[in-house]
């Protein structure tokens, strides 16, 4: 029952998070619909096209009438970057598009101390909020009159600061003199007072906690602006990261994928052919392949590390295993998918078994093998990055993992973007190769 209870609590938490995201999702969808509406108006102004699709009256439900709108794609990407820039205060964006940033600059507030005998005195606290890493000068202040003395404090943007303003006062806690108000508003332990620049609260022990406003922007440590990621890319491409250049990191990942995939294909394709052509081989390998196929390659990482260590061999074994089953299954279904009439036709045209293999079965299975290769390359790329996250000296995954340990979020983002770009390029290349090498795909 405790397990069920725990799971229920988890579920509630997840659902509450989702619910809190609903307004944002609604806003995003509203924006999409709005841009769609604008585009429709713009199109009406432009000369209307009269191609075949635009003359269709039924488009809702007609799959062939729905094509990806390039304008929408561009707007979507641009919007993503604008959003990113707006919430990071990017210099690429004009200032009016920025979300409100954190408070930076000087501000002050007064606090009132009430002594044990009921006497009160005010003093001023000067607050200077400065960006992280910037040079800052202290504010010079006069102590002022009365038993409460004026104070000054420097606070880094996005941070808050506990400040014992009564430390320099003539009467302190030990004299039963307590802060009772801030800026004229009564303040008790646990309460807080809103200010122009943020808010001031009081801890249970009577210390003031100053929270300068953090605004709506993200701190660079959570999300750096786009130009910071770009300049990181330029910097790392130039000077490298952790004793290796960027190209070495990416090159090592690619090298592992290509070698692992090539080995997996070199073993998997003949294995698949054997399974597609012989009862005995099919019976022999079916249980093994069907069992190994649903095991995610990532689950094999611990075993591979135990057996082969964290060097290149272990990673290539892992990628070999990731590609092997996919390629074997693709080749098997490629062989099984040959129309019997083609094989019969070839036999009655005098072809030998070997000629049937070479001229009918292999070309007929190539489209399936290419589909399998695309899937396998995708899985291998994902697996190599994950394996490098666990342990590696070089590689894209190692780069982002190490960077995350030092909170170099810009490097992490850069790495993720590069990994995405490379994965996408691999898929594009495979598709292009497919077009060139098996133009008969889907034409049988």
């Amino acid at each position: 029952m405790t397990l069920l209870g725990e799971l229920w609590e988890e579920l509630v938490e997840v659902l509450l998070t989702l619910v809190s995201a609903i307004p944002y999702v609604i806003g995003y969808v509203a924006l999409i619909l709005l841009t769609a509406l604008i585009w429709r108006l713009v199109k009406r102004v432009l000369t209307p096209k009269k191609d075949y699709v635009s003359l269709k009256t039924v488009t809702f439900g007609d799959e062939s009438a729905v094509v990806s709108n390039n304008v929408a794609s561009v707007v979507s990407i641009v919007f993503l970057f604008v959003l990113w820039g707006a919430f990071t205060g990017s210099k690429l964006l004009p200032g009016f598009l920025h979300a409100p940033g954190p408070f930076i600059g000087d501000a002050s507030f007064t606090y009132t101390v009430t002594a044990a005998d009921g006497a009160t005195d005010d003093a001023t606290v000067a607050v200077r909020v400065y960006p992280n890493g910037a040079d800052v000068e202290d504010i010079t202040i006069e102590p002022g009159e009365g038993f409460a003395k004026n104070d000054a404090i420097n606070i880094v943007a996005y941070r808050s600061s506990l400040f014992r303003v009564d430390e320099n006062d003539e009467l302190g806690r030990e004299d039963e003199a307590f802060i009772t108000a801030v800026d004229g508003q009564a303040l008790e332990s646990g309460g807080s007072v809103a200010m122009d620049f943020g808010r001031v609260s009081m801890t249970p022990r009577g210390t003031l906690n100053i929270y300068p406003s953090t605004g709506w922007q993200m701190e660079p440590i959570w999300l750096p602006p786009p130009e910071a990621v770009w300049s990181r890319l330029v910097e790392i491409a130039d000077t490298g990261f952790r004793n290796s250049t960027l190209w070495e990191h990416l090159g090592f990942s690619l090298f592992r994928v290509i070698v692992g995939f090539a080995l997996g294909a070199a073993v998997g394709i003949p294995l698949g052919y054997a399974m597609g052509l012989s009862n005995w081989f099919r019976g022999w390998f079916d249980p093994i392949v069907e069992f190994m196929r649903p095991v995610p390659p990532l689950a094999l990482i611990p075993l591979v590390i135990i057996w082969a260590g964290i060097g290149e061999v272990g990673k290539i074994i892992l990628l070999f295993l990731a590609a092997l089953w996919i390629m074997a299954i693709a080749a098997r279904s490629g062989v099984s998918g040959v129309r019997i009439s083609k094989v019969h036709a070839a036999y009655s045209l005098g072809a030998s078994k070997w000629q049937i293999m070479r001229f009918v079965i292999i070309p007929n299975s190539l489209p399936e093998i290419f589909t399998g290769a695309r899937v396998a390359m995708g899985v291998c790329w994902g697996t190599v990055v994950a394996a490098e996250l666990v342990a590696a000296e070089k590689g894209a995954g190692m780069m982002i993992m190490t960077a995350s340990k030092f909170q170099n979020t810009d490097i992490v983002l850069m790495g993720i973007i590069l990994i995405g770009v490379i994965g996408f390029s691999i898929d594009m290349l495979m598709r292009q190769a497919e077009k060139w090498l098996v133009p008969w795909k889907g034409k049988g």
Binding site: K342, H344, A345, Y347, S348, L349, G350, A351, W440, K443
Partner: protein, 269 residues
């Protein structure tokens, strides 16, 4: 002895559930060289099984087939086959498809090219020879299939509903082509079809098969194939004997279908 002898052919195979099916029973056909035999019959009468046995793709449980005096024991180039559709190699061009048989024999390239060019002229596809087969229409694809089969110079051509997937107009044109090729090459042809008209137009001889077990029901010798050579096939269809035979065969097949329906309903009840 020349020609094709099918003697006492029977085919019976077991089903996974323990029962068995008698697909063919005591089929005897003797075909002289150069004859064109049409085979008709309701679905399930074993036409295709018969053709697959002649082609060598299936081994009969009883009886045997002899071609030019030797026993048929597997597929071979002497028995060419034309399928309904989808048997062309879409990874090869039209020219490569037609030249497949000669290439398998290891024929020299220029010899092969001569044969291929000639056949592409015969079927009227000379200008499409570099095209991929999937770029051609259904009728053109069947022309390629015919040419591919002829390029191998088989003694017997087995046709399994070669025109079944074509539209009516293309089908008529292709019937004329088949007739022309048959007369010009003098090949022995077995043609399986669902169309009674096609069987009558093309078959010098015609066999109507009956189902359960698959057997020969009735045999005809027909004059229409000879009449049709070099003539509009629509004129042949106006022949009074044509209509008469067609009606006779149609009602014969109709009765067989009725009987099957009745029998299954009877067992169900």
């Amino acid at each position: 002895m020349t020609g094709l002898q099918i003697s006492d052919l029977s085919m019976r195979f077991d089903l996974p559930n323990g029962s068995s099916i008698q697909a063919l029973k005591d089929v005897n056909i003797s075909l002289n060289e150069g004859e064109l035999l049409s085979v008709l019959g309701p679905s399930g009468c074993g036409k295709t099984t018969l053709l697959n046995i002649v082609a060598g793709f299936l081994a009969p449980t009883d009886g045997q087939i002899e071609l030019n005096g030797h026993r048929v024991e597997g597929p071979a180039a002497e028995r060419g086959m034309v399928f309904q559709q989808g048997a062309l190699f879409e990874w090869m061009s039209v020219r490569e498809n037609v030249g497949f048989g000669p290439r398998m024999k290891g024929m020299k390239p220029d010899e092969k090219r001569k044969i291929v060019d000639h056949l592409l002229d015969v079927v009227g596809l000379q200008e499409f020879k570099e095209k991929a087969v999937y770029e051609l229409s259904g009728g053109m694809q069947q022309r390629v299939a015919l040419a591919r089969c002829l390029a191998n110079e088989p003694d017997v051509i087995l046709m399994d509903e070669p025109l079944g997937a074509l539209d009516a107009l293309t089908r008529e044109k292709m019937q004329g082509l088949v007739l022309k090729l048959w007369k010009e090459t003098g090949k022995t042809i077995i043609l399986i079809t669902h169309s009674v008209e096609e069987a009558l137009l093309l078959g010098e001889r015609l066999i109507v098969m009956a189902p359960r077990p698959g057997r020969i029901h009735k045999e005809y010798r027909l004059p229409f194939a000879d009449l049709g050579v070099g003539q509009d096939l629509r004129e042949v269809k106006k022949h009074p004997q044509f209509a008469e035979t067609r009606e006779e065969i149609l009602s014969m097949i109709w009765n067989m279908e009725e009987e099957i329906m009745g029998r299954t309903e009877g067992t169900d009840a």
